[in-house]
């Protein structure tokens, strides 16, 4: 299925902005809502310092188009590969070595929430609503949400949210640690942009990438291996900074 045009990409001041572009609901036709090759091409820009994902118009996203899923559900192989492609894209988002912020206004349901959870930081407007409604249709979150949500909210809160399919407002979502910041009504993007500036403005790309990579290593490698890598990254930055200061003094 063609999903070009469903998503916009632009770069402003070294920050990439991906916009889910099918308002008002910004429904996702298929889980791989950006062809993964295109996503990698967008984010391979070596000058890029950060990425923000937002929805066009009022909402973030109401989620996936379940009709598509039910349409091919007889074809196990096709369904599995469709879900796998979506999961693969979300893993690519999570693995980026630049900070990724989800800017969430209003509705953020299902696959929309899956996207938000694959981002590093979630900023939601005070009128944002989050849910995994899949169980109402006798389904379940299928793009890693069952794994990502408990890392933030713990097992029991996640079980409750996924099993009930209930909508969670921004304040409760913050309490549950699903979102990191609450922005004023409909102002998620301005908040996310300002936070991104504070994190990346005046920071060389190499510093940003080294820090995110070290954090990734801390989650994925043994402590000793992560530390050897961290030391290597630190020393590389320190050597450059030492040289820079010498040149400046000369």
């Amino acid at each position: 299925m063609d999903n070009s045009g469903q998503v916009k990409f632009e770069v402003r001041d070294s920050i990439g902005v991906i916009t889910l572009n099918d308002p008002p609901a910004n429904e996702l036709a298929i889980p791989e809502f950006i062809p993964v090759g295109l996503f990698m091409q967008w984010t391979s820009d070596s000058l890029l310092k950060g990425l923000i994902i937002k929805g066009e118009g009022r909402n973030f996203s109401a989620g996936g188009n379940l009709d598509e899923i039910f349409k091919i559900s007889g074809n196990t192989a096709a369904l599995k590969s469709m879900m796998q492609d979506g999961l693969n894209l979300l893993n690519k988002i999570q693995d980026l070595e630049i900070p990724v912020i989800a800017s969430i206004n209003r509705v953020c349901f299902g696959a929309g929430l899956e996207i938000a959870l694959s981002c590093h930081i979630r900023v939601a407007s005070e009128n944002a609503l989050l849910a995994f409604p899949e169980s109402n249709q006798n389904l379940m979150p299928g793009l890693g949400g069952t794994k990502r949500l408990p890392l933030l909210a713990g097992f029991s809160q996640s079980a409750k949210m996924i099993l009930t399919g209930d909508v969670v407002n921004a304040r409760d979502a913050k309490e549950m640690k699903i979102i990191d910041h609450i922005a004023p009504r409909d102002m998620a993007f301005d908040y996310a942009w300002s936070l991104m500036q504070k994190m990346t403005h005046d920071r060389p790309v190499k510093v940003i990438r080294s820090i995110i990579r070290a954090l990734k290593n801390a989650m994925e490698l043994t402590p000793d291996k992560a530390m050897i890598e961290e030391t290597r990254l630190f020393c590389s930055l320190a050597l450059e900074e030492g040289e820079r200061r010498k040149t400046e003094e000369a």
Binding site: H120, A214, E230, R232
Partner: protein, 215 residues
């Protein structure tokens, strides 16, 4: 000595002693390594409290010295000294007053407990001078505060208050400045000797509850 060490009633006091900012120089790390080798043999030691001399805990590493001596092995040795501290069987408590930044905050993060003054200022500002935390702070912050907060505070490099640190799970208790040391001593006396048989959160809660009841 830049690192002052004394034992009183079975509790060791490790003081960063280069006021006013108690900078952590290469000499400090050397003295720390020597002390870490000696501590396991100190039979009657039941806890360690780490503080800074004077107003502040410490402003962290001496950047000029550090940049003039960039060396993977030195950095890893410094990290190993922190790990030795963390692996001690007895509880290690950082009593944090004033400034606690960079490597000093990393040292505090390798302690088992962090008792913090209300006026304390904490942070990992390395990225603001084109560096990154280099002695394991990245690992500890992400484990305690989660990846999102870790990315934010390390990339921003901003300082934050004791209250914010408590909210993020980076410190265990916040008390008025004058109570930090007495609190740390009383807490050390209340802890069972072996840190590995202690549930950290239960102890902090148990110890704090009478305080809450009296206020």
């Amino acid at each position: 000595m830049i690192l002052q060490w004394s034992i009183e009633n079975g509790i060791g006091r490790l003081t960063l002693n280069q006021p006013p900012s108690n900078t952590m120089t290469m000499a400090f790390f050397h003295e720390l390594k020597v002390l870490m080798d000696e501590i396991p043999a100190m039979q009657h030691l039941k806890a360690i409290i780490i503080t800074g001399h004077g107003r502040h805990y410490s402003s962290g590493a001496d950047i000029r010295e550090l940049l003039a001596n960039v060396d993977n092995l030195i950095m890893l040795e410094n990290y190993r000294a922190f790990v030795m501290l963390e692996r001690l069987q007895i509880p290690v408590i950082s009593a944090i007053r004033g400034v606690c930044l960079g490597s000093a905050f990393e040292l505090a993060l390798f302690s088992h407990f962090r008792i913090c003054a209300e006026d304390a200022v904490l942070g990992l500002p390395e990225s603001t001078f084109n560096l990154m935390p280099g002695i394991g702070g990245i690992q500890r912050v992400s484990a305690l505060a989660g990846k999102a907060k870790a990315i934010e505070i390390i990339l921003r490099g901003n300082t934050f208050s004791a209250g914010d640190a408590l909210d993020m799970g980076l410190v265990d208790a916040v008390v008025p400045r004058n109570y930090v040391i007495p609190f740390a001593i009383a807490f050390a006396n209340d802890l069972p000797g072996n840190i590995y048989t202690t549930d950290r959160s239960i102890y902090i809660h148990k110890f704090l509850s009478p305080l809450h009841a009296s206020t």
